[in-house]
Symmetry: C2
Subunit: 236 residues, 2 copies
DNA sequence: CATGTTTTCGATTCTAAGGCGAAAACCCCG
DNA sequence: CGGGGTTTTCGCCTTAGAATCGAAAACATG
């Protein structure tokens, strides 16, 4: 401790650190989260986020990847980022456990194999969840929604190539309200995060004009130069 | 650990958790951070962020307030928020210490008393800093800059009432580039975060029209409904 | 080949933001 | 007490992003 202090009297006895991941994806026009069902006594049969205790020789970013690999093929994850720390002294019973929560995303076209105890659940309509994991899921959902508006994070939800109407349904499901396809395309195009793939695909079962395929220009997270407020002069 | 795992072999021996705060303010048109000079052997005489080990019965938000109270009157803080977790296994020598970093802000008109070892330092032009604290300071600065653009967080840097030109200097110093006073006022007013106080103040030493006073409509953090992209229909 | 369906594109309107320059309000000095 | 200098404030104009609407394009089906 840097300075003497009496407030935290009995010190750090038993202060463990765990890492948790809220892995989200879109399926059938709904936002889903990856949960596994507990088979042990605290919160038996409740559904929990993947995670586990931080190892002695790893940072939290490394740890979350390792922990997730027990539940899902981590190579299928398209994005992972730090979310927030949850540290209520009683967030889990009988021990002191601080959690660093992460947001993970999986594209809607990949379907990783899952262990028997693990399943996707709709975020609106969660089962009984363990500990404070529901709050973590909702925090992850809100973070995703915010970033959809001011970054290119859609790439992490979408397949490599997609039609505009497909993308519209992805965004609508993630945001929780309908978005207009025409606007979505123009906004993302003008921001330079969306580009035409040049190819088109066959029309649907009901006919209709065969849609063109698009892709995201980058698959790395990019914040779209936020709100023009107060930028340095003479700049795009 | 939720599942058996061999990767984090020797477990969590000695994994401590500390809380650190990068407290920023504007002074003389420069962004400053609160640092104290170490008198102990790891990184002796280097400048460090206020903080300390997490207590057994407190969450990180409570802890950072307690730790800060050793260096500064926490009632003078206008805003505190979680920043990020820093968890490199070797970020501090000889022990394993995970840090939850916070961003704190102090209005430019209050001048809290400081201990002898504690001082404000310009963020551009830091002295020799301890451990990874410089990276934390820069993360805090970037977070502040981003939020100035899309929230009302300016209230945490400004006095209760202020002139437009005063506010312009605050924003310029925090952002690192000149902003136009006329634009600043209109943008913030239109967003509804700024309002006229009704009163005016005496003109400066060189004469000139006496400026009107303004205030922030709210002193709680509010995200300005971000980028109009894809909003639900029929909404301002 | 007509009809229905879906995608795509263009035209228009609306709102936000940035850039001047003029007017307002005050000081100081002669 | 009036003119010149200074600072603030306001209005007009331009630019750009976003939302809405409707028409045109391209295909399937009967």
């Amino acid at each position: 401790m840097h300075h003497p202090s009496t407030a935290a009297a009995d010190g750090d006895r038993d202060t463990g650190h765990e890492v948790l991941a809220a892995v989200l994806r879109i399926r059938e026009d709904r936002l889903q989260v990856l949960l596994w069902q507990r088979a042990q006594t605290p919160d038996l049969h409740s559904w929990a986020l993947p995670g586990g205790r931080l190892g002695a020789a790893e940072d939290v970013e490394t740890s979350v990847t390792r922990q997730l690999s027990e539940k899902v093929d981590v190579h299928k994850l398209s994005h992972v980022e730090q979310l927030s720390v949850f540290s209520d002294p009683h967030r889990v019973p009988a021990q002191r456990l601080v959690a660093t929560a992460f947001l993970g995303l999986v594209p809607c076209d990949v379907d990783p194999e899952l262990p028997a105890d693990t399943r996707w659940h709709p975020v609106d309509g969660l089962p009984t969840t363990a500990f404070d994991h529901e709050a973590i899921v909702l925090t992850a959902r809100d973070r995703l929604r915010a970033k959809l508006s001011y970054s290119n994070i859609g790439f992490a939800l979408a397949p490599p190539e997609f039609t505009v109407s497909k993308l519209r349904r992805l965004y609508s499901a993630a945001l929780g309200y309908r978005v207009a396809a025409t606007n979505l395309q123009r906004v993302l195009s003008r921001r330079g995060v969306l580009e035409a793939a040049g190819r088109t695909v066959a029309a649907g079962p009901n006919g209709g004009r065969p849609p063109a395929l698009f892709r995201f220009t980058s698959r790395d997270l990019r914040i779209t130069d936020p709100f023009a407020v107060l930028r340095p002069p003479h700049q795009a």
